[in-house]
């Protein structure tokens, strides 16, 4: 039987969106793993850094482009028109599109790092619960502020960001595939980076800091500086992830209006890291997959049920049940299998074969002694 190429193409197209979501959640969860898994920092304000990157990177790019192209008028009222003009310009000049994309990523990284430094500074010296409380409160404030302050993002109206990668893809003829390719590249880079950090001496230092703060301080490690640097780096990555989210969906809706909520960008990455197993990048990979499997199965299942006439949920929004299920699942995992699906492996400083040789040599020596005596 010959393979029908057009159906294969259709399958690929259907899989693009889940794949994009997979890459985005993988990046954010890897930063959570770096902070919480390796270093034990409870960053409950992850949404702050993702949103800082997305809001500031996206809105700044839009404002700069509107200024450069001499678009006259209210940038909120005419945004549909302005954005179509900006995207048209980016489609016709690929170099400019690349520049805009890089500009957005740079702004996202800088803003993520800046927000990370500012919001952790007061509590980084204190116990981890104060840091968790402060970061969570800062995240809630940022969302509240960007929803309520109209001149920032247009309030509940939201703002549309330029989508340079999509425009570049339009030139090739495959916009969605290009976005997916960029996301895969970015998530692969972040994965390789965190894998290298995890295996390096720095990774072992972070675990030491997590497991015994006093001991690591006694060995001459500057705990506060290490914690601050980890937070800076992972917040910069989270800020870039916010910009990548805009490449996937160029709509900035602040706070509870849009997708930038504490539930999505703080809680879900923690769920992913704990399902898969903390301090373990392969675990994060598996956790992201499992979470998105549950998420998609739930969405497809409920929409199938509702479309075929079995509305078992009545007037209740089915996503509420998903939220409750995810929360309950996390508690059950914490109770039954706190190490996650893939448990953290003990750190081996030498290669396995070398360690075996040493162990055998020790055993041989002791046997020789016994034989002599």
């Amino acid at each position: 039987m010959a393979v029908d190429l057009s159906s294969l193409y259709f399958l690929l197209m259907v899989l693009i969106q889940p794949a994009e979501l997979f890459c985005l959640f993988l990046i954010i969860s890897l930063t959570v793993n770096l902070e919480f898994g390796y270093a034990g920092i409870p960053n409950f304000g992850k949404v702050l850094f993702v949103a800082a990157g997305a809001f500031l990177g996206g809105s700044l790019a839009y404002r700069v482009m509107a200024y450069v192209m001499h678009l006259k008028g209210d940038i909120f009222a005419y945004q549909a028109l302005f954005i179509s003009q900006i995207d048209g310009k980016l489609t016709s000049t690929p170099v400019l599109a690349v520049e805009v994309a890089l500009f957005m990523l740079a702004v996202g990284a800088v803003m993520g790092a800046l927000f990370g430094f500012l919001s952790s500074y007061p509590a980084i010296r204190l116990r981890e619960d104060y840091l968790g409380m402060l970061l969570l409160a800062a995240g809630e404030f940022f969302n509240y502020f960007s929803l309520a302050y109209f001149p920032f993002l247009g309030g509940a109206l939201g703002m549309t960001a330029p989508s340079p990668i999509f425009d570049l893809g339009t030139i090739i003829g495959q916009p969605n595939l290009l976005v997916l390719a960029i996301l895969i590249l970015a998530s692969a880079l972040v994965y390789i980076y965190s894998e290298r950090v995890g295996r390096s001496p720095l990774g072992r230092t972070l675990r030491a800091l997590r497991d015994n703060e006093e001991a690591s301080e006694a060995l001459g490690k500057d705990n506060v500086a290490i914690r601050r640097n980890v937070l800076l780096v992972s917040s910069a990555i989270a800020g870039m992830a916010g910009v990548l989210w805009l490449f996937y969906m160029p709509y900035i809706a602040p706070g509870t209006v849009g997708s930038f909520t504490r539930q999505t960008f703080t809680f879900i990455p923690f769920v992913i890291v704990i399902i898969g197993g903390a301090a373990n990048n392969r675990g994060v990979l598996l956790g992201t997959f499992v979470y998105l499997l549950i998420f998609n199965a739930f969405n497809q299942g409920t929409s199938y049920l509702i479309n075929s006439g079995y509305n078992i949920f009545g007037p209740i929004d089915p996503t509420r049940f998903e939220t409750m299920f995810i929360g309950a699942m996390l508690i059950v995992i914490l109770l039954r299998r706190p190490q996650g699906l893939i448990a953290e492996k003990p750190t081996l400083t030498l290669a396995r074969s070398r360690l075996k040789e040493i162990a055998e040599a020790v055993v041989r020596k002791s046997k020789n002694k016994e034989a002599k005596s």
Partner: protein, 321 residues
């Protein structure tokens, strides 16, 4: 009578004080900042509002006891089902915090499903006939005593009664002595034959009930949309951190300062900016409202990380004499 900006600030101060003392109590017993504390408040708000609407009561004050007991019951269920088993397994503080975040998520879904989807949609016609919804009980006319709004009397009275009752429980009863011992040193208390688990359950009930009482009165004072939980959590944490998380009176003082300054400072700033730059400029100031508790929290952590109760006020006064 009193300037409305001051009277509002006093009411908010009392309500946040009740919520903060609950958070402080749970922190003292379980040693974990409870991120689901604001959900106790919100569950209590909507339970009492539903009881008021469906029970055909004449005043929303009559259903505030419902809020009190629902808040307490929710807290006890959370402690027994989630935190107690986790503590038994020896979970560290970060894991406990994540568990409370999970409870927060579950309760957000539950509140949305029951109150905002089920009740609001199934009973839409009934609610429409009544003319108000679960989240705008503050639209109802309040009762007046000598020209003073009822809430301005009830909220401070509730705070005072609760403080006195809590002090009596802690310092004048045998159970209170056991409670303080269990908070101070659980292992020693266990050796002396105190049932520490029962003490913890009671203190979680008290904490949730105080949050619920604050919530029941909050719904009379202010509109309470679905996102209330995520807004008031900033105030609750700021108040508890300002109070120092180690003393109940610290929680009360911290909560009162946060609630009062948030409302009062914003009103003063708004009227000042309105007078200087015109009306539209002043209306933007309210968007910074939740910045005030955050600023209080940051300053507290930078200057007195152990809170107001850690400051030696006598030495402080002597320095300036």
């Amino acid at each position: 009578m009193l300037d409305p900006s001051i009277s509002n600030a006093i009411v908010y101060g009392c309500l946040y004080a009740m919520m903060c003392v609950g958070l402080t109590l749970t922190y003292m017993t379980t040693k974990v900042p409870n991120f689901a504390h604001s959900d106790f408040v919100v569950v209590a708000i909507f339970s009492s509002a539903s009881a008021f609407i469906f029970g055909n009561f004449s005043s929303p004050y009559l259903t505030v006891p419902v809020a009190f007991f629902v808040g307490g019951a929710t807290a006890v269920i959370m402690y027994l089902l989630v935190l107690k088993p986790l503590t038994k397994r020896g979970a560290n503080i970060v894991v406990l915090m994540i568990a409370t975040l999970a409870v927060d998520t579950i309760m957000t879904g539950f509140i949305g499903a029951v109150f905002f989807d089920y009740i609001s949609k199934v009973y839409a016609k009934f609610l429409g006939n009544k003319g108000y919804y679960l989240f705008d009980l503050n639209q109802l006319p309040d009762f007046h005593v000598f020209g003073v709004n009822g809430i301005l009397i009830v909220a401070p009275a509730a705070l005072v009664v609760m403080t006195v009752a809590l002090s009596y429980l802690l310092y004048r009863t045998r159970f209170g002595v056991a409670m303080r011992a269990a908070i101070e040193n659980p292992n020693l208390a266990r050796i002396l034959g105190i049932n520490v688990e029962r003490v913890y359950v009671v203190s979680w009930f008290v904490a949730g009930a105080l949050a619920g009482l604050g919530g029941g009165l909050y719904s009379i004072q202010s509109p309470s949309p679905p996102a209330t939980s995520s807004y008031i959590i900033v105030d609750i944490f700021a108040g508890a951190v300002l109070g120092g998380l180690t003393s109940l009176y610290g929680g009360i003082i911290g909560g009162f300062i946060v609630g009062f300054s948030e409302t009062y400072v914003i009103r003063v700033l708004t009227s000042f900016v309105n007078a200087t730059y015109g009306y539209a400029a002043g209306s933007q100031i309210t968007t910074f409202q939740k910045g005030i508790p955050l600023a209080i929290m940051i300053i507290t952590l930078l200057v007195i990380p152990k809170g107001l109760t850690s400051v030696d006020w006598r030495r402080f006064m002597r320095r300036f004499r």
